[in-house]
Protein backbone atom coordinates (compact mmCIF):
# COMPACT_ATOMS: atom_id res chain seq x y z
CA UNK A 1 0.00 0.00 0.00
CA UNK A 2 1.44 3.35 -1.01
CA UNK A 3 0.82 6.81 0.39
CA UNK A 4 -2.53 8.28 -0.46
CA UNK A 5 -2.41 10.79 -3.28
CA UNK A 6 -4.28 14.06 -2.88
CA UNK A 7 -6.44 12.98 -5.77
CA UNK A 8 -7.39 9.73 -4.04
CA UNK A 9 -8.19 11.61 -0.85
CA UNK A 10 -10.44 13.95 -2.83
CA UNK A 11 -12.18 10.97 -4.41
CA UNK A 12 -12.69 9.29 -1.02
CA UNK A 13 -14.12 12.50 0.42
CA UNK A 14 -16.64 12.64 -2.41
CA UNK A 15 -17.55 8.98 -1.87
CA UNK A 16 -17.99 9.54 1.87
CA UNK A 17 -20.22 12.51 1.16
CA UNK A 18 -22.31 10.48 -1.32
CA UNK A 19 -22.64 7.75 1.30
CA UNK A 20 -23.76 10.29 3.92
CA UNK A 21 -26.38 11.73 1.59
CA UNK A 22 -27.70 8.25 0.89
CA UNK A 23 -27.81 7.51 4.63
CA UNK A 24 -29.95 10.62 5.25
CA UNK A 25 -32.26 9.87 2.31
CA UNK A 26 -32.83 6.26 3.29
CA UNK A 27 -33.47 7.09 6.95
CA UNK A 28 -35.98 9.82 6.06
CA UNK A 29 -37.75 7.38 3.76
CA UNK A 30 -37.67 4.54 6.32
CA UNK A 31 -38.89 6.79 9.17
CA UNK A 32 -36.87 4.70 11.61
CA UNK A 33 -33.28 3.63 12.10
CA UNK A 34 -29.98 4.92 13.42
CA UNK A 35 -28.42 8.20 12.32
CA UNK A 36 -25.35 9.04 14.39
CA UNK A 37 -23.32 5.84 13.97
CA UNK A 38 -23.70 5.50 10.21
CA UNK A 39 -22.76 9.15 9.57
CA UNK A 40 -19.79 8.86 11.94
CA UNK A 41 -18.49 5.76 10.14
CA UNK A 42 -19.02 7.02 6.57
CA UNK A 43 -15.37 8.01 6.12
CA UNK A 44 -14.10 4.64 7.31
CA UNK A 45 -16.57 2.76 5.12
CA UNK A 46 -15.61 4.87 2.11
CA UNK A 47 -11.95 4.19 2.88
CA UNK A 48 -12.63 0.45 3.15
CA UNK A 49 -14.94 -0.02 0.18
CA UNK A 50 -13.11 2.32 -2.21
CA UNK A 51 -9.53 1.74 -1.18
CA UNK A 52 -8.58 -0.97 1.30
CA UNK A 53 -10.93 -3.90 0.81
CA UNK A 54 -10.03 -6.65 -1.59
CA UNK A 55 -13.44 -7.30 -3.08
CA UNK A 56 -15.30 -7.47 -6.36
CA UNK A 57 -18.91 -6.28 -6.50
CA UNK A 58 -19.27 -8.11 -9.83
CA UNK A 59 -18.24 -11.35 -8.15
CA UNK A 60 -19.40 -11.04 -4.54
CA UNK A 61 -18.61 -14.64 -3.64
CA UNK A 62 -14.99 -14.43 -4.85
CA UNK A 63 -13.20 -16.87 -2.56
CA UNK A 64 -10.15 -14.73 -1.81
CA UNK A 65 -12.07 -11.56 -0.97
CA UNK A 66 -11.42 -9.88 2.35
CA UNK A 67 -14.26 -10.48 4.78
CA UNK A 68 -15.99 -7.46 6.27
CA UNK A 69 -18.00 -8.43 9.32
CA UNK A 70 -20.31 -5.77 10.71
CA UNK A 71 -20.81 -6.58 14.36
CA UNK A 72 -22.98 -3.61 15.34
CA UNK A 73 -25.65 -4.32 12.75
CA UNK A 74 -27.66 -1.21 13.63
CA UNK A 75 -25.31 1.03 11.63
CA UNK A 76 -26.23 -0.92 8.48
CA UNK A 77 -27.37 2.20 6.55
CA UNK A 78 -23.68 2.99 6.07
CA UNK A 79 -23.01 -0.61 5.01
CA UNK A 80 -25.91 -0.63 2.53
CA UNK A 81 -24.99 2.79 1.12
CA UNK A 82 -21.33 1.75 0.70
CA UNK A 83 -22.33 -1.47 -1.01
CA UNK A 84 -24.79 0.26 -3.32
CA UNK A 85 -22.27 2.94 -4.29
CA UNK A 86 -19.71 0.18 -4.94
CA UNK A 87 -22.12 -1.53 -7.34
CA UNK A 88 -23.42 -4.49 -5.34
CA UNK A 89 -27.00 -3.43 -5.97
CA UNK A 90 -28.83 -0.41 -7.43
CA UNK A 91 -28.63 2.81 -5.41
CA UNK A 92 -32.42 3.24 -5.78
CA UNK A 93 -32.90 0.08 -3.71
CA UNK A 94 -31.63 1.99 -0.66
CA UNK A 95 -35.09 3.54 -0.39
CA UNK A 96 -36.55 0.15 0.53
CA UNK A 97 -34.70 0.13 3.88
CA UNK A 98 -36.79 -1.42 6.67
CA UNK A 99 -39.82 -2.01 4.45
CA UNK A 100 -41.75 -5.26 4.17
CA UNK A 101 -40.15 -7.63 1.70
CA UNK A 102 -37.00 -5.51 1.37
CA UNK A 103 -33.56 -7.04 1.06
CA UNK A 104 -32.39 -4.21 3.30
CA UNK A 105 -33.58 -5.34 6.69
CA UNK A 106 -33.44 -3.05 9.73
CA UNK A 107 -30.44 -5.07 10.79
CA UNK A 108 -28.57 -6.89 8.02
CA UNK A 109 -29.65 -10.40 7.09
CA UNK A 110 -27.54 -12.48 4.74
CA UNK A 111 -30.44 -14.67 3.74
CA UNK A 112 -32.16 -11.64 2.20
CA UNK A 113 -29.07 -9.81 0.96
CA UNK A 114 -26.56 -12.51 0.11
CA UNK A 115 -23.64 -10.13 -0.36
CA UNK A 116 -23.43 -9.29 3.33
CA UNK A 117 -21.09 -11.63 5.16
CA UNK A 118 -23.17 -12.01 8.32
CA UNK A 119 -26.56 -11.28 9.78
CA UNK A 120 -26.10 -9.15 12.87
CA UNK A 121 -27.89 -6.92 15.31
CA UNK A 122 -27.62 -8.30 18.83
CA UNK A 123 -24.35 -6.79 20.02
CA UNK A 124 -21.09 -8.35 21.05
CA UNK A 125 -20.90 -11.40 18.76
CA UNK A 126 -19.30 -10.11 15.56
CA UNK A 127 -15.77 -10.19 16.89
CA UNK A 128 -16.17 -13.84 17.89
CA UNK A 129 -17.47 -14.69 14.43
CA UNK A 130 -14.54 -12.81 12.88
CA UNK A 131 -12.09 -14.61 15.17
CA UNK A 132 -13.60 -17.94 14.10
CA UNK A 133 -13.12 -16.97 10.46
CA UNK A 134 -9.55 -15.86 11.06
CA UNK A 135 -8.72 -19.06 12.92
CA UNK A 136 -10.27 -21.19 10.17
CA UNK A 137 -8.01 -19.41 7.67
CA UNK A 138 -5.00 -20.05 9.89
CA UNK A 139 -5.83 -23.75 10.11
CA UNK A 140 -6.12 -23.86 6.32
CA UNK A 141 -2.91 -21.87 5.77
CA UNK A 142 -4.90 -19.08 4.09
CA UNK A 143 -4.06 -16.33 6.56
CA UNK A 144 -1.98 -14.49 3.98
CA UNK A 145 -4.59 -14.54 1.25
CA UNK A 146 -7.17 -12.28 2.89
CA UNK A 147 -7.96 -10.22 5.97
CA UNK A 148 -10.92 -10.50 8.28
CA UNK A 149 -12.10 -6.99 9.19
CA UNK A 150 -14.53 -6.64 12.05
CA UNK A 151 -16.37 -3.34 12.36
CA UNK A 152 -17.70 -2.82 15.85
CA UNK A 153 -18.95 -0.17 18.22
CA UNK A 154 -17.56 1.06 21.51
CA UNK A 155 -20.91 0.51 23.25
CA UNK A 156 -20.88 -3.19 22.45
CA UNK A 157 -17.70 -3.52 24.49
CA UNK A 158 -20.09 -3.58 27.45
CA UNK A 159 -20.92 -7.12 26.35
CA UNK A 160 -19.06 -9.99 27.99
CA UNK A 161 -19.09 -11.85 24.69
CA UNK A 162 -16.83 -9.13 23.21
CA UNK A 163 -14.18 -9.73 25.86
CA UNK A 164 -14.39 -13.48 25.44
CA UNK A 165 -13.55 -12.86 21.78
CA UNK A 166 -10.75 -10.44 22.61
CA UNK A 167 -9.19 -12.99 24.98
CA UNK A 168 -9.55 -15.76 22.40
CA UNK A 169 -8.03 -13.80 19.50
CA UNK A 170 -5.09 -12.77 21.68
CA UNK A 171 -4.47 -16.35 22.70
CA UNK A 172 -4.51 -17.54 19.09
CA UNK A 173 -2.36 -14.65 17.76
CA UNK A 174 -4.83 -13.95 14.95
CA UNK A 175 -2.81 -11.40 13.00
CA UNK A 176 -5.16 -11.86 10.03
CA UNK A 177 -7.92 -10.28 12.13
CA UNK A 178 -8.29 -6.51 12.26
CA UNK A 179 -10.97 -5.05 14.52
CA UNK A 180 -12.07 -1.47 13.96
CA UNK A 181 -13.81 0.08 16.94
CA UNK A 182 -16.02 3.09 16.30
CA UNK A 183 -14.93 5.11 19.34
CA UNK A 184 -17.67 7.74 19.16
CA UNK A 185 -18.25 7.82 22.93
CA UNK A 186 -22.02 7.49 22.72
CA UNK A 187 -24.53 4.75 23.28
CA UNK A 188 -28.31 4.79 23.63
CA UNK A 189 -28.46 6.00 27.22
CA UNK A 190 -25.73 8.61 26.89
CA UNK A 191 -21.97 9.02 27.04
CA UNK A 192 -20.12 5.71 27.18
CA UNK A 193 -18.04 6.87 30.13
CA UNK A 194 -21.20 7.55 32.11
CA UNK A 195 -23.16 4.49 31.07
CA UNK A 196 -20.32 2.02 31.61
CA UNK A 197 -16.78 3.40 31.48
CA UNK A 198 -14.49 1.81 28.90
CA UNK A 199 -11.31 3.77 29.55
CA UNK A 200 -8.45 3.07 29.57
CA UNK A 201 -9.66 1.31 26.45
CA UNK A 202 -6.37 0.99 24.55
CA UNK A 203 -4.67 -0.45 27.62
CA UNK A 204 -7.44 -2.98 28.03
CA UNK A 205 -6.94 -4.34 24.51
CA UNK A 206 -3.16 -4.28 24.93
CA UNK A 207 -3.37 -6.29 28.11
CA UNK A 208 -5.29 -8.95 26.15
CA UNK A 209 -2.32 -9.22 23.75
CA UNK A 210 -3.64 -7.11 20.91
CA UNK A 211 -1.68 -4.57 18.88
CA UNK A 212 -3.47 -1.27 19.32
CA UNK A 213 -3.57 1.64 16.90
CA UNK A 214 -5.48 4.82 17.66
CA UNK A 215 -6.58 6.94 14.78
CA UNK A 216 -8.71 9.90 13.77
CA UNK A 217 -11.54 8.14 11.93
CA UNK A 218 -12.20 11.10 9.66
CA UNK A 219 -8.63 11.62 8.41
CA UNK A 220 -7.84 9.50 5.36
CA UNK A 221 -4.08 9.98 5.67
CA UNK A 222 -4.26 8.86 9.29
CA UNK A 223 -6.40 5.90 8.35
CA UNK A 224 -3.99 4.91 5.62
CA UNK A 225 -1.07 4.89 8.03
CA UNK A 226 -3.09 2.88 10.52
CA UNK A 227 -4.02 0.17 8.02
CA UNK A 228 -0.42 0.06 6.74
CA UNK A 229 0.72 -0.55 10.31
CA UNK A 230 -2.01 -3.09 10.90
CA UNK A 231 -0.99 -5.14 7.88
CA UNK A 232 2.59 -5.33 9.08
CA UNK A 233 1.82 -6.84 12.48
CA UNK A 234 2.75 -10.52 12.31
CA UNK A 235 2.07 -12.09 15.69
CA UNK A 236 -0.99 -10.40 17.18
CA UNK A 237 -4.50 -9.40 16.26
CA UNK A 238 -4.85 -5.69 15.62
CA UNK A 239 -7.45 -3.25 16.83
CA UNK A 240 -7.80 0.16 15.25
CA UNK A 241 -9.56 2.39 17.74
CA UNK A 242 -11.07 4.98 15.43
CA UNK A 243 -12.03 8.21 17.14
CA UNK A 244 -15.08 9.47 15.34
CA UNK A 245 -17.72 12.12 15.77
CA UNK A 246 -21.21 10.62 15.87
CA UNK A 247 -23.43 12.30 13.29
CA UNK A 248 -20.33 13.60 11.45
CA UNK A 249 -21.11 15.80 8.47
CA UNK A 250 -24.29 17.38 9.79
CA UNK A 251 -23.57 20.03 12.42
CA UNK A 252 -26.90 19.65 14.19
CA UNK A 253 -26.43 15.91 14.67
CA UNK A 254 -22.74 15.89 15.60
CA UNK A 255 -21.82 14.62 19.04
CA UNK A 256 -25.39 14.36 20.30
CA UNK A 257 -26.26 10.91 21.64
CA UNK A 258 -29.96 11.53 21.00
CA UNK A 259 -29.29 10.85 17.33
CA UNK A 260 -28.02 7.37 18.10
CA UNK A 261 -31.30 5.62 17.40
CA UNK A 262 -33.45 8.32 15.80
CA UNK A 263 -33.97 9.09 12.10
CA UNK A 264 -34.26 12.65 10.77
CA UNK A 265 -37.76 13.73 9.78
CA UNK A 266 -38.36 15.20 6.35
CA UNK A 267 -37.39 18.76 7.28
CA UNK A 268 -34.32 17.71 9.24
CA UNK A 269 -33.39 15.47 6.34
CA UNK A 270 -33.63 18.34 3.84
CA UNK A 271 -31.50 20.51 6.10
CA UNK A 272 -28.91 17.73 6.43
CA UNK A 273 -28.84 17.04 2.70
CA UNK A 274 -28.38 20.75 1.93
CA UNK A 275 -25.46 20.90 4.33
CA UNK A 276 -23.86 17.78 2.86
CA UNK A 277 -24.38 19.01 -0.73
CA UNK A 278 -22.68 22.24 0.22
CA UNK A 279 -19.66 20.44 1.70
CA UNK A 280 -19.58 18.08 -1.26
CA UNK A 281 -19.45 20.93 -3.76
CA UNK A 282 -16.41 22.46 -2.10
CA UNK A 283 -13.13 21.87 -3.92
Amino acid sequence: MISLSDEKIKELKIKANDIRQSIISMLVEAKSGHTAGPLGMADIFAFLYFYILKHNPKDPSWEDRDRLILSNGHICPVLYASMAHSGYFPIEELNTLRKLGSRLQGHPHREYLPFVENSSGPLGSGLSQSAGMALADKIDGKENSRYIYCLMSDGELNEGNSWEAIMFAGKNKLNNLIAIVDRNNIQIDGNTEKVMPLEPLADKWRSFNWYVIEVNGHDFKDLNEAFKDAHEVFNKPVVIIAHTIPGKGVKEFEGDYKWHGMPPNKEQGEMALNELREIGSRP
Binding site: G124, S125, Q129, A136, D140, N161, A165
Partner: protein, 341 residues
Protein backbone atom coordinates in the same frame (compact mmCIF):
# COMPACT_ATOMS: atom_id res chain seq x y z
CA UNK B 1 -42.30 -57.91 21.78
CA UNK B 2 -39.21 -56.21 20.45
CA UNK B 3 -39.52 -55.13 16.85
CA UNK B 4 -36.59 -57.15 15.59
CA UNK B 5 -37.03 -55.91 12.05
CA UNK B 6 -34.89 -53.07 13.41
CA UNK B 7 -32.19 -55.48 14.63
CA UNK B 8 -32.27 -54.21 18.21
CA UNK B 9 -29.96 -55.50 20.92
CA UNK B 10 -31.34 -58.97 21.81
CA UNK B 11 -29.94 -58.57 25.34
CA UNK B 12 -32.01 -55.47 26.08
CA UNK B 13 -33.91 -57.13 28.91
CA UNK B 14 -31.00 -59.05 30.41
CA UNK B 15 -29.78 -58.05 33.85
CA UNK B 16 -26.26 -57.72 32.45
CA UNK B 17 -27.19 -55.62 29.41
CA UNK B 18 -24.20 -53.59 28.34
CA UNK B 19 -24.36 -49.98 29.56
CA UNK B 20 -22.44 -47.13 27.97
CA UNK B 21 -22.91 -43.36 28.43
CA UNK B 22 -24.69 -41.86 25.42
CA UNK B 23 -22.03 -39.13 25.28
CA UNK B 24 -19.41 -41.83 24.67
CA UNK B 25 -21.10 -42.75 21.42
CA UNK B 26 -20.82 -39.13 20.39
CA UNK B 27 -17.09 -39.13 21.17
CA UNK B 28 -16.52 -42.19 18.97
CA UNK B 29 -18.76 -40.75 16.25
CA UNK B 30 -16.91 -37.44 16.29
CA UNK B 31 -13.56 -39.18 15.86
CA UNK B 32 -14.97 -41.08 12.88
CA UNK B 33 -16.53 -37.89 11.48
CA UNK B 34 -13.11 -36.25 11.75
CA UNK B 35 -11.57 -39.10 9.80
CA UNK B 36 -14.26 -38.94 7.13
CA UNK B 37 -14.27 -35.19 6.65
CA UNK B 38 -11.28 -32.92 7.18
CA UNK B 39 -13.53 -29.90 7.66
CA UNK B 40 -14.89 -31.29 10.91
CA UNK B 41 -13.69 -29.14 13.81
CA UNK B 42 -14.30 -29.58 17.53
CA UNK B 43 -14.61 -26.72 20.01
CA UNK B 44 -14.97 -27.23 23.71
CA UNK B 45 -15.56 -25.01 26.73
CA UNK B 46 -13.13 -26.52 29.23
CA UNK B 47 -14.85 -29.92 29.42
CA UNK B 48 -12.93 -32.03 26.95
CA UNK B 49 -13.17 -35.36 28.74
CA UNK B 50 -16.63 -34.89 30.17
CA UNK B 51 -18.02 -34.16 26.73
CA UNK B 52 -15.94 -36.95 25.18
CA UNK B 53 -14.12 -34.72 22.73
CA UNK B 54 -10.77 -36.09 23.95
CA UNK B 55 -10.62 -38.84 21.32
CA UNK B 56 -10.93 -36.26 18.56
CA UNK B 57 -8.57 -33.82 20.28
CA UNK B 58 -5.83 -36.44 20.58
CA UNK B 59 -6.09 -37.52 16.95
CA UNK B 60 -6.60 -34.06 15.43
CA UNK B 61 -4.94 -31.53 17.76
CA UNK B 62 -4.92 -28.80 15.11
CA UNK B 63 -8.65 -29.17 14.53
CA UNK B 64 -9.50 -29.06 18.21
CA UNK B 65 -10.11 -25.62 19.70
CA UNK B 66 -10.04 -25.11 23.45
CA UNK B 67 -12.34 -22.19 24.22
CA UNK B 68 -12.04 -21.98 27.97
CA UNK B 69 -15.11 -21.40 30.11
CA UNK B 70 -16.79 -19.09 27.59
CA UNK B 71 -19.94 -20.52 26.10
CA UNK B 72 -21.00 -17.39 24.23
CA UNK B 73 -17.66 -17.34 22.45
CA UNK B 74 -17.86 -21.10 21.91
CA UNK B 75 -20.83 -20.90 19.56
CA UNK B 76 -20.04 -17.55 17.92
CA UNK B 77 -16.50 -18.58 17.00
CA UNK B 78 -18.05 -21.78 15.63
CA UNK B 79 -20.38 -19.65 13.50
CA UNK B 80 -17.38 -17.84 12.02
CA UNK B 81 -15.55 -21.10 11.33
CA UNK B 82 -18.62 -22.46 9.59
CA UNK B 83 -18.66 -19.35 7.38
CA UNK B 84 -15.25 -20.46 6.09
CA UNK B 85 -16.42 -23.99 5.29
CA UNK B 86 -15.73 -25.81 8.54
CA UNK B 87 -18.23 -28.12 10.22
CA UNK B 88 -17.87 -27.22 13.89
CA UNK B 89 -19.14 -29.31 16.80
CA UNK B 90 -19.23 -27.26 20.00
CA UNK B 91 -19.68 -28.97 23.28
CA UNK B 92 -20.34 -28.09 26.86
CA UNK B 93 -22.89 -29.11 29.46
CA UNK B 94 -26.39 -28.53 28.12
CA UNK B 95 -27.07 -26.18 31.02
CA UNK B 96 -24.39 -23.78 29.74
CA UNK B 97 -24.77 -24.37 26.02
CA UNK B 98 -27.54 -23.76 24.96
CA UNK B 99 -28.46 -22.67 28.48
CA UNK B 100 -26.27 -19.56 28.63
CA UNK B 101 -25.75 -18.71 24.96
CA UNK B 102 -29.22 -19.05 23.48
CA UNK B 103 -29.33 -15.70 21.69
CA UNK B 104 -25.92 -16.27 20.13
CA UNK B 105 -27.10 -19.65 18.86
CA UNK B 106 -30.29 -18.12 17.49
CA UNK B 107 -28.61 -15.18 15.75
CA UNK B 108 -25.16 -16.28 14.70
CA UNK B 109 -25.99 -19.91 13.91
CA UNK B 110 -29.68 -20.44 13.09
CA UNK B 111 -30.52 -16.99 11.65
CA UNK B 112 -27.18 -16.93 9.83
CA UNK B 113 -27.83 -20.47 8.59
CA UNK B 114 -24.41 -21.72 9.68
CA UNK B 115 -23.94 -25.44 9.89
CA UNK B 116 -22.83 -25.76 13.49
CA UNK B 117 -23.66 -28.69 15.75
CA UNK B 118 -24.29 -27.70 19.36
CA UNK B 119 -23.64 -30.63 21.62
CA UNK B 120 -25.34 -30.39 25.00
CA UNK B 121 -23.83 -33.02 27.21
CA UNK B 122 -24.97 -33.95 30.73
CA UNK B 123 -28.57 -33.09 29.87
CA UNK B 124 -31.46 -34.09 32.10
CA UNK B 125 -31.89 -34.90 35.77
CA UNK B 126 -29.50 -37.87 35.60
CA UNK B 127 -26.49 -35.57 36.00
CA UNK B 128 -27.31 -36.45 39.57
CA UNK B 129 -25.22 -35.25 42.52
CA UNK B 130 -24.17 -31.96 40.88
CA UNK B 131 -27.67 -30.77 41.67
CA UNK B 132 -30.25 -28.44 40.16
CA UNK B 133 -27.83 -25.87 38.72
CA UNK B 134 -26.35 -28.47 36.41
CA UNK B 135 -29.46 -30.38 35.40
CA UNK B 136 -30.64 -29.06 32.03
CA UNK B 137 -34.36 -29.71 31.92
CA UNK B 138 -35.28 -26.90 29.54
CA UNK B 139 -32.87 -27.35 26.64
CA UNK B 140 -35.24 -29.19 24.28
CA UNK B 141 -37.77 -26.38 24.72
CA UNK B 142 -35.10 -23.71 24.15
CA UNK B 143 -33.83 -25.27 20.98
CA UNK B 144 -36.95 -26.55 19.32
CA UNK B 145 -38.49 -23.07 19.10
CA UNK B 146 -35.62 -21.76 16.99
CA UNK B 147 -36.40 -21.97 13.27
CA UNK B 148 -33.81 -23.77 11.15
CA UNK B 149 -32.52 -25.93 14.01
CA UNK B 150 -32.64 -29.73 14.17
CA UNK B 151 -33.01 -31.19 17.67
CA UNK B 152 -31.85 -34.75 18.22
CA UNK B 153 -31.83 -36.73 21.45
CA UNK B 154 -30.42 -40.22 20.84
CA UNK B 155 -31.54 -43.20 22.91
CA UNK B 156 -28.15 -44.87 23.36
CA UNK B 157 -24.46 -44.60 22.56
CA UNK B 158 -24.77 -46.45 19.26
CA UNK B 159 -27.52 -44.17 18.02
CA UNK B 160 -25.50 -41.15 19.22
CA UNK B 161 -22.60 -42.29 17.04
CA UNK B 162 -24.85 -42.68 14.01
CA UNK B 163 -26.47 -39.28 14.54
CA UNK B 164 -23.05 -37.63 14.79
CA UNK B 165 -22.04 -39.11 11.46
CA UNK B 166 -25.37 -38.15 9.86
CA UNK B 167 -25.03 -34.56 11.01
CA UNK B 168 -21.86 -33.90 9.03
CA UNK B 169 -23.62 -34.69 5.78
CA UNK B 170 -24.46 -31.85 3.45
CA UNK B 171 -27.68 -30.04 4.13
CA UNK B 172 -30.62 -31.21 2.13
CA UNK B 173 -31.65 -28.06 0.25
CA UNK B 174 -35.25 -29.21 0.05
CA UNK B 175 -35.78 -29.08 3.77
CA UNK B 176 -35.55 -26.32 6.35
CA UNK B 177 -32.76 -27.80 8.40
CA UNK B 178 -31.97 -31.42 7.66
CA UNK B 179 -29.18 -30.98 8.69
CA UNK B 180 -27.97 -27.46 8.81
CA UNK B 181 -27.62 -26.23 12.35
CA UNK B 182 -28.43 -28.90 14.91
CA UNK B 183 -28.65 -29.49 18.62
CA UNK B 184 -27.48 -32.87 19.86
CA UNK B 185 -28.65 -33.74 23.38
CA UNK B 186 -26.56 -36.22 25.36
CA UNK B 187 -26.78 -37.75 28.81
CA UNK B 188 -23.95 -38.32 31.24
CA UNK B 189 -24.91 -41.63 32.84
CA UNK B 190 -24.31 -45.13 31.62
CA UNK B 191 -27.34 -46.08 29.56
CA UNK B 192 -28.33 -49.60 28.42
CA UNK B 193 -27.53 -50.37 24.82
CA UNK B 194 -30.80 -50.72 22.92
CA UNK B 195 -29.81 -50.65 19.26
CA UNK B 196 -27.08 -52.38 17.29
CA UNK B 197 -24.77 -51.22 14.54
CA UNK B 198 -27.24 -52.79 12.10
CA UNK B 199 -30.26 -50.82 13.31
CA UNK B 200 -31.17 -48.39 10.53
CA UNK B 201 -31.06 -44.68 11.32
CA UNK B 202 -32.32 -41.60 9.56
CA UNK B 203 -32.67 -38.05 10.95
CA UNK B 204 -36.33 -37.05 11.04
CA UNK B 205 -37.63 -40.61 11.20
CA UNK B 206 -39.07 -42.23 14.29
CA UNK B 207 -38.85 -45.95 14.97
CA UNK B 208 -41.19 -48.40 16.72
CA UNK B 209 -39.06 -50.52 19.07
CA UNK B 210 -41.85 -52.45 20.78
CA UNK B 211 -44.96 -53.94 19.17
CA UNK B 212 -47.80 -56.19 20.42
CA UNK B 213 -47.34 -59.90 19.69
CA UNK B 214 -50.66 -59.80 17.89
CA UNK B 215 -53.33 -57.22 17.08
CA UNK B 216 -53.41 -53.48 17.60
CA UNK B 217 -51.75 -51.56 20.42
CA UNK B 218 -53.98 -49.94 23.05
CA UNK B 219 -51.51 -47.19 24.00
CA UNK B 220 -48.62 -45.61 22.12
CA UNK B 221 -45.60 -44.72 24.26
CA UNK B 222 -43.40 -42.09 22.65
CA UNK B 223 -39.98 -41.68 24.25
CA UNK B 224 -36.83 -39.71 23.58
CA UNK B 225 -33.27 -40.05 24.88
CA UNK B 226 -32.05 -41.79 27.98
CA UNK B 227 -35.44 -43.02 29.24
CA UNK B 228 -36.01 -45.24 26.21
CA UNK B 229 -34.84 -48.34 28.06
CA UNK B 230 -37.25 -47.63 30.91
CA UNK B 231 -40.10 -47.21 28.43
CA UNK B 232 -39.28 -50.63 26.98
CA UNK B 233 -39.19 -52.20 30.46
CA UNK B 234 -42.62 -50.65 31.12
CA UNK B 235 -43.98 -52.01 27.84
CA UNK B 236 -42.75 -55.50 28.70
CA UNK B 237 -44.34 -55.37 32.14
CA UNK B 238 -47.58 -54.03 30.65
CA UNK B 239 -47.61 -56.89 28.15
CA UNK B 240 -47.48 -59.38 31.02
CA UNK B 241 -50.52 -57.61 32.45
CA UNK B 242 -52.32 -57.95 29.13
CA UNK B 243 -51.94 -54.33 28.00
CA UNK B 244 -50.71 -53.97 24.46
CA UNK B 245 -48.47 -51.02 23.65
CA UNK B 246 -46.15 -49.73 21.01
CA UNK B 247 -42.98 -47.88 21.98
CA UNK B 248 -41.76 -45.24 19.56
CA UNK B 249 -38.23 -43.85 19.75
CA UNK B 250 -38.59 -40.20 18.80
CA UNK B 251 -34.92 -39.25 18.92
CA UNK B 252 -35.47 -36.67 16.23
CA UNK B 253 -37.63 -34.02 17.90
CA UNK B 254 -37.02 -31.56 15.07
CA UNK B 255 -37.68 -32.42 12.32
CA UNK B 256 -40.57 -34.33 13.85
CA UNK B 257 -42.03 -37.44 12.23
CA UNK B 258 -45.63 -36.16 12.02
CA UNK B 259 -46.90 -38.93 9.84
CA UNK B 260 -45.74 -41.69 12.17
CA UNK B 261 -47.03 -39.91 15.28
CA UNK B 262 -50.47 -39.41 13.75
CA UNK B 263 -50.54 -42.99 12.56
CA UNK B 264 -49.63 -44.24 16.06
CA UNK B 265 -52.41 -42.09 17.53
CA UNK B 266 -54.89 -43.44 15.01
CA UNK B 267 -54.01 -46.99 15.97
CA UNK B 268 -53.89 -46.56 19.77
CA UNK B 269 -56.17 -43.57 20.40
CA UNK B 270 -54.07 -42.83 23.52
CA UNK B 271 -50.49 -41.65 23.94
CA UNK B 272 -47.94 -41.43 26.76
CA UNK B 273 -44.82 -39.33 26.20
CA UNK B 274 -41.63 -39.94 28.18
CA UNK B 275 -38.64 -37.61 28.45
CA UNK B 276 -36.01 -36.49 30.93
CA UNK B 277 -36.99 -32.84 30.57
CA UNK B 278 -39.61 -30.39 31.75
CA UNK B 279 -43.02 -31.42 30.50
CA UNK B 280 -43.50 -27.77 29.51
CA UNK B 281 -42.20 -27.23 26.03
CA UNK B 282 -40.42 -30.54 25.64
CA UNK B 283 -40.82 -33.50 23.30
CA UNK B 284 -44.26 -34.29 24.74
CA UNK B 285 -45.39 -30.78 23.91
CA UNK B 286 -44.11 -31.23 20.38
CA UNK B 287 -46.13 -34.45 20.07
CA UNK B 288 -49.20 -32.69 21.51
CA UNK B 289 -48.84 -29.91 18.95
CA UNK B 290 -48.83 -32.46 16.15
CA UNK B 291 -51.81 -34.39 17.50
CA UNK B 292 -53.93 -31.38 18.50
CA UNK B 293 -53.80 -30.21 14.93
CA UNK B 294 -54.30 -33.56 13.25
CA UNK B 295 -55.76 -36.29 15.42
CA UNK B 296 -56.46 -35.32 19.04
CA UNK B 297 -56.28 -38.20 21.54
CA UNK B 298 -55.71 -38.28 25.32
CA UNK B 299 -52.03 -37.84 26.24
CA UNK B 300 -50.22 -38.37 29.53
CA UNK B 301 -46.84 -36.67 29.91
CA UNK B 302 -43.94 -38.22 31.81
CA UNK B 303 -41.25 -35.66 32.62
CA UNK B 304 -40.35 -33.08 35.23
CA UNK B 305 -43.44 -31.15 36.30
CA UNK B 306 -42.25 -27.55 36.31
CA UNK B 307 -39.68 -28.09 39.08
CA UNK B 308 -35.95 -27.68 39.55
CA UNK B 309 -33.95 -30.80 40.31
CA UNK B 310 -31.68 -31.48 43.27
CA UNK B 311 -28.71 -33.64 44.27
CA UNK B 312 -29.10 -37.40 44.35
CA UNK B 313 -28.10 -40.45 42.38
CA UNK B 314 -29.56 -40.63 38.88
CA UNK B 315 -31.80 -43.56 39.80
CA UNK B 316 -33.06 -41.79 42.94
CA UNK B 317 -33.84 -38.67 40.96
CA UNK B 318 -35.62 -40.47 38.12
CA UNK B 319 -37.77 -42.12 40.76
CA UNK B 320 -38.29 -38.98 42.85
CA UNK B 321 -39.42 -36.94 39.85
CA UNK B 322 -41.72 -39.73 38.62
CA UNK B 323 -40.01 -40.79 35.43
CA UNK B 324 -39.33 -44.41 36.39
CA UNK B 325 -40.82 -47.64 35.03
CA UNK B 326 -43.73 -47.75 37.53
CA UNK B 327 -44.58 -44.12 36.66
CA UNK B 328 -44.73 -44.96 32.97
CA UNK B 329 -46.96 -47.96 33.73
CA UNK B 330 -49.26 -45.76 35.83
CA UNK B 331 -49.46 -43.20 33.04
CA UNK B 332 -50.39 -45.90 30.54
CA UNK B 333 -53.14 -47.17 32.84
CA UNK B 334 -54.38 -43.64 33.38
CA UNK B 335 -54.52 -42.78 29.70
CA UNK B 336 -56.31 -46.08 29.02
CA UNK B 337 -59.04 -45.04 31.44
CA UNK B 338 -59.32 -41.60 29.85
CA UNK B 339 -59.61 -43.22 26.45
CA UNK B 340 -62.50 -45.46 27.37
CA UNK B 341 -64.40 -43.02 29.60
Amino acid sequence: MLNQKLKLNPKIFNEDVEQIPIRKGFGIGLLKAGEENENVIALCADLVESTQMNLFAEKFPKRFIEMGVAEQNLVTVASGMSAMGKIPFCSSYAMFSPGRNWEQIRTTIAYNDRKVIIVGSHAGISVGPDGGTHQALEDIALMRVIPNMDVISPCDAIEAKKVTLELIKTKNPASLSLSGPAYLRLAREKTPIITTEETPYEIGKSQIYWIPDIGLAQVGIIVTGSLTHRALLAAKELESRGIKTKVMNLSSIVPIDKEAIVSLAKECKAIVTVEEHQVNGGMGSAVAEVLAGNYPVPIEFIGVQNLFGQSGTPDELIKHYHMDVPDIILAVEKVLKRKTS
